[in-house]
Amino acid sequence: MSSISRVGTSVLAAAAVGLASASVSADGISGDVVRIGAMVDMSGVYSANGGPGAVVAVEMAIDDFGGEVLGKPIELLSADYQNRVSVAQATARRWFDERDVDMIIESTDSASALALFDLGNDRERITIAAGSATTRMTGDGCSRYGIHYVYDTFALATGTGNAIVQEGNTEWYFITADYAFGHSLEQDTENIVLASGGNVLGKSRHPLGSTDYASYLLQAQASGAQVVGLANAGNDFSTAVEQAHEFGITAGGQILAGMLVFLTDINALGVDVAQGMQFTTGFYWDYDDETRAFSERFYERHGAMPTMIQAGAYSATMHYLQAIEATGTDNADAVMEYLRSNPIEDFFSRNGYLRADGRMVHDMYLAEIKSPAESESTWDMVRIIREIPGDEAFRPLEDGNCQYVNSGS
C-alpha cells in the first residue's frame, strides 16, 4: 500500500512539474512541438472528397514548410472519424488533453465539425473546417478559435442557385440528404429560389449513404419541375446522378443541379454522364499556373487532382504555420489574431481574409462540366464560367449572429 501511495505522489509531482513548464513556455511553442491533427473520413461516403487526400495535403504543407517552425518540429496525427460525431469528439478530446495537439483540421462531416468547434472553443485550441459545409459554424455554432476555410452551404446556394434561376429555371424539386448538411443546403438554396420569384414544387429526403434513388427520382420526374436540385454530396451525389441518367431525367428536359460537386465525383461519373451541369466550387486545379503547379505536385503524391477540400487543407495549414512563425508562438489567441489581421492569399485563396466569425472569405467560382468532346484529358472536365467575389458569395457577417462577433474577441 505504501509503495502505491509513493507511486501516486511521484506521479502527482511529475504532473505538477509538467503543468508548470507548460505555463512557462506559453509565449513560445507549447511542448516544444507543433502538433496538427487531421481528422478525416478515410473509408466512408466522403473519403474521396477529403479523406486520405486531405491528410496528404496537410503533409505536403508541412514538408513544404520545412518540417519545422521556429526550430521546433511539426508533427502530424491523423484519424478516421467515420463520419460519426461521437468518434470525432472523443478523438479530438484525446488529442487535445493527452497528445497536446495544437490545431485540428477536419475534412467533411458537418455535425462532427460543430462538435470540434465547440471543443476547440472550450480548450482554446484552433479548429479548421476544410470540408464541412454548414453555415452554423459561423452562426450559432461558431468558436473563438474556429476557422471555416473553404466553402459553405450559403456560398454553394448563392452561386449555383442564382445562376440557374437567372436562366429562367424557377420551378425546383429537391432531393436532400436527411441531416444537418442537407437541410442547411436545401434551405439556403430554397431561399434563393423563392427570393427570385421561383417555386419549390416538392422535396424528398434520403438517408446518408443511400444506394437506391429510384423513388425520389420518379417523384422528381412526376413533379414536372424544371430543376432537380441535389442537396447531397460525395457518393450520395454521384449515385443519384448516375441513376437520374438511367431514368432519363436529363434527356426528358429537366435540369440536374448538383449543389455540392467535387472534382472526384465528376471523375467517378465520367463527363458524358455529368456534362453540362453547373456548380459552385472554391478551387479548380486547372484555373491558372499557380493552381496547376500545386495540383501537379499533389497528383504525384496522391494519384488524383486535388478537390477544393484538399487544396484548402494545404492552404489552411500553410497559413497556420506562417502565423506561428510570424507571431513566434503557437498560442491560439495570438495565431488567430494574426490570421484575422492579415490577408490570406495563395494559389487557393484569392482576395482572402479571415472574418471575426471565423469565415475565411475568398473568391468562389461558378463552373460547368465540359462535354466529352471538349474534355481533352481525364482530369480536364470543368470550365470556369464566372468568378464570384468573396463578399458576394458568403453570408454577410451580421446575418450569422455569431455570439463572439459583438464581444470583439
Binding site: V85, S86, A111, A115, Y179, A180, L208
Partner: protein, 341 residues
C-alpha cells in the same frame, strides 16, 4: 479468499489508474462495462438475446442530455431522468417482446429499437445527426465540480461499480437462480410453478434501467448525445463485448468492454485499416475463445487452460467449473445452475 484479494487489487488499480491512463478513456470503459453487464444480465442468465439494447442506452443518453442542457437539471436529477425514461421504455418494450422466444425475440427487440432510432432521428429535441452537443456536466451534490476529468472519473467509477455490484447481487439472489433455471429449461421452470414471463419481464426492465444509466453516464462524460447511441451498431457492439468477454460470467462483460473500447480508441489513428484489423480480431476471438476470454480462462477443460497446463505453467486462478464438453455458443449461452459461492 483469492477472489476478494483479486477484487481489492482491481479496485486499487482503478483508483490509481487515472494518473497513468487518460481518464476519459477509462470512463468510457467503465460506462460500457456497465452497459455490457446490464446486457449480460439478460443474455447470460435469462438466455434472452436482445438485439435492441441501444434503444435503452440511447434513451438514457438523450433524456439525460436534454434534462441537463435544456431543463437545467442538476447532475443527479439528470441521471435519474435518463434512468426513469429508459426504465419506462423497458416496461413498454418488455410487455411486447418477452412473449416471444429466440430469434423472434431478437427480431422484435431489433425492430422496436430501430423504431426508436427513427424517432430520435426525427424528433426536434435530439438535433438529428448533430446530436445534443455541449451538455453541461454540472456538479456532484452542488459540491464537486465535474468539469474536471479526474473528479468525474471517481464519480463515474463509483456509479458504474455500484451498478455492476447491483447486477451481481441480482444474479446471486434467489431471483437470479430462478432466472438461470428459466434460461436453461423454461418448460421445467413452468412445471415447478414459476410464472416465467413475469420473471423475464422483470429482468428485461432491470436490464433496460442499467443500460439507461450507462447511456446517461456516457453523456456526462462526453457532453454529447448522438445517434450512435441508438443505432443498431450499438446494439451489436454490446453483444460483441459480452461475447468477447464471456457470456454468463460476471467479469466477462467488463473485460469485453475494455477490449472493444481499447480497440476502437487506439485503432482510430490507423486509418483505413481500422475495419480490417477490427474484423480480424473478432475472427480470432470467435475461433480461439469460443466462450469469451473470461469464459475460456475460467473453464478448466478449455483448450487454453489445457495448453497452459501442458506447457507447465500454472493455470490462472481456480475459476468456476463448467460442465465438461458443453459447447457454449450464441444460441445456447447458458450456464449450469451453481449454488452460490
Amino acid at each position: 479468499m483469492m477472489r476478494i484479494a483479486l477484487f481489492v487489487a482491481l479496485v486499487i488499480l482503478a483508483i490509481i489508474a487515472p494518473f497513468f491512463v487518460y481518464p476519459v478513456f477509462l470512463m468510457k470503459v467503465f460506462v460500457f462495462a456497465l452497459f455490457a453487464s446490464a446486457f449480460n444480465l439478460l443474455l447470460g442468465y435469462a438466455g434472452l438475446l436482445s438485439f435492441g439494447h441501444a434503444a435503452f442506452f440511447g434513451t438514457g443518453s438523450y433524456i439525460t442530455a436534454h434534462a441537463l442542457k435544456v431543463w437545467g437539471f442538476p447532475f443527479e436529477m439528470g441521471l435519474l431522468a435518463g434512468v426513469v425514461a429508459s426504465t419506462a421504455l423497458g416496461v413498454l418494450f418488455g410487455l411486447i417482446a418477452v412473449r416471444r422466444l429466440g430469434i423472434y425475440f431478437a427480431m422484435i427487440t431489433l425492430a422496436l429499437a430501430q423504431m426508436m432510432y427513427f424517432v430520435y432521428l426525427q424528433a426536434p429535441f435530439t438535433g438529428g445527426e448533430d446530436g445534443i452537443q455541449s451538455v453541461p456536466r454540472g456538479t456532484l451534490l452542488g459540491l464537486v465540480d465535474l468539469r474536471s476529468d479526474l473528479n468525474l472519473y471517481y464519480v463515474v467509477l463509483a456509479i458504474s461499480l455500484a451498478g455492476i455490484f447491483c447486477i451481481y447481487r441480482i444474479v446471486k439472489s434467489p431471483f437470479g437462480q430462478v432466472l438461470r433455471s428459466i434460461g436453461q429449461n423454461p418448460d421445467r421452470s413452468v412445471s415447478l410453478g414459476y410464472s416465467i414471463s413475469t420473471y423475464k419481464l422483470a429482468v428485461y426492465i432491470m436490464s433496460a434501467a442499467f443500460s439507461g444509466l450507462a447511456g446517461a453516464l456516457l453523456v456526462v462524460v462526453f457532453q454529447l448525445a448522438s445517434l450512435d447511441e441508438v443505432n443498431w451498431h450499438m446494439s451489436g457492439e454490446v453483444v460483441l463485448m459480452t461475447l468477447v468477454g464471456g457470456v454468463g460470467t460476471l467479469l466477462g462483460p467488463i473485460v469485453g468492454a475494455a477490449v472493444i473500447v481499447t480497440l476502437q480508441n487506439y485503432l482510430a489513428e490507423v486509418g483505413q485499416w481500422v475495419l480490417v484489423i477490427q474484423g480480424s480480431i473478432f475472427v480470432i476471438i470467435v475461433l480461439a475463445f469460443r466462450k469469451g476470454i473470461v469464459g475460456e480462462l475460467s473453464d478448466p477443460e478449455s483448450w487454453l487452460r489445457t495448453t497452459l497446463r501442458r506447457v507447465g505453467m500454472r493455470s490462472p486462478g481456480p475459476g468456476p467449473s463448467a460442465r465438461p464438453g458443453e459447447a457454449v455458443d450464441l444460441g445456447q449461452a447458458r450456464q449450469p445452475v451453481r449454488s452460490g459461492d
